[in-house]
Symmetry: C2
Subunit: 142 residues, 2 copies
């Protein structure tokens, strides 16, 4: 199992590759706010673990195993974003919260969250009564 | 902000203290499955950060600031347990999942989860139709 920070690199490399067709160390570095030398180091580590490989003309690309992990993290990131959105959570820290949570969510919780999002979207009356219920509860707490 | 591993120590020290009235390094070590020397090291670190302190006859105790963080993590652990339970998630890995998630959940998500748990418990019909919806969705995916 890769460490969260390795998963973060995989996720970014995958997203940049999808968008641009190639993933340069400098793009990954600016996107993760780290030094290009750290990216190069991590790319070597990913290579050693069989998750990515340097190709002469295409630069650094992910192997099928690397893509699988990257897609899984990107998917979990996405459904967590949807979950925060449907729950109408307004915190300034949502991005960081999701970046932390995405590495710890298992398959069954991911499915539960994804289906909760859709369930609330298809049942706006239920969603509204839940949001009202939460508001009442938050008043009692404070 | 303490690192997750520091939060884990705080959580355990707090829970052991609540249960026994004192928290010895050996009890914390066996509970976290680490060496007593690691616990002693962390206790020193907590002391430096003003989160805990050695007292002559009572041993290591948490300061009010340490208790606040520990209670927050223990609370998030608890509501995550409730969330997995009410969603009827059966994974073998739930404890580890919760141990990872508890450090990344913000206040608003914590309230949202706690209220979702209560909302489902007070509305068993809605819970049942959600679980049915999730089952349908999982069939489509596979
Ligand atoms: Mn992410
Ligand atoms: Mn815990």
């Amino acid at each position: 199992m890769p460490t969260p920070s390795m998963e973060d690199y995989l996720e970014k490399i995958y997203l940049i590759f999808e968008q641009k067709g190639y993933a340069r160390a400098t793009d990954v570095a600016s996107s993760l706010d780290v030094l290009p030398s750290s990216v190069t180091k991590m790319m070597q580590k990913l290579d050693e673990k069989g998750l990515g490989v340097y190709e002469k003309y295409r630069g650094f690309i992910l192997t099928p195993k690397g893509i699988k992990i990257a897609k899984d993290i990107a998917y979990k990131h996405h459904i967590l974003e949807e979950f925060f959105r449907v729950l109408e959570i307004k915190s300034d820290n949502i991005y960081n919260e999701i970046e932390g949570l995405e590495h710890h969510i298992g398959e069954e919780m991911a499915l539960s969250i994804a289906s909760l999002v859709k369930f609330f979207e298809e049942n706006p009356g239920i969603k509204a009564s839940y949001l009202k219920y939460r508001q009442e509860m938050s008043k009692q707490d404070s």
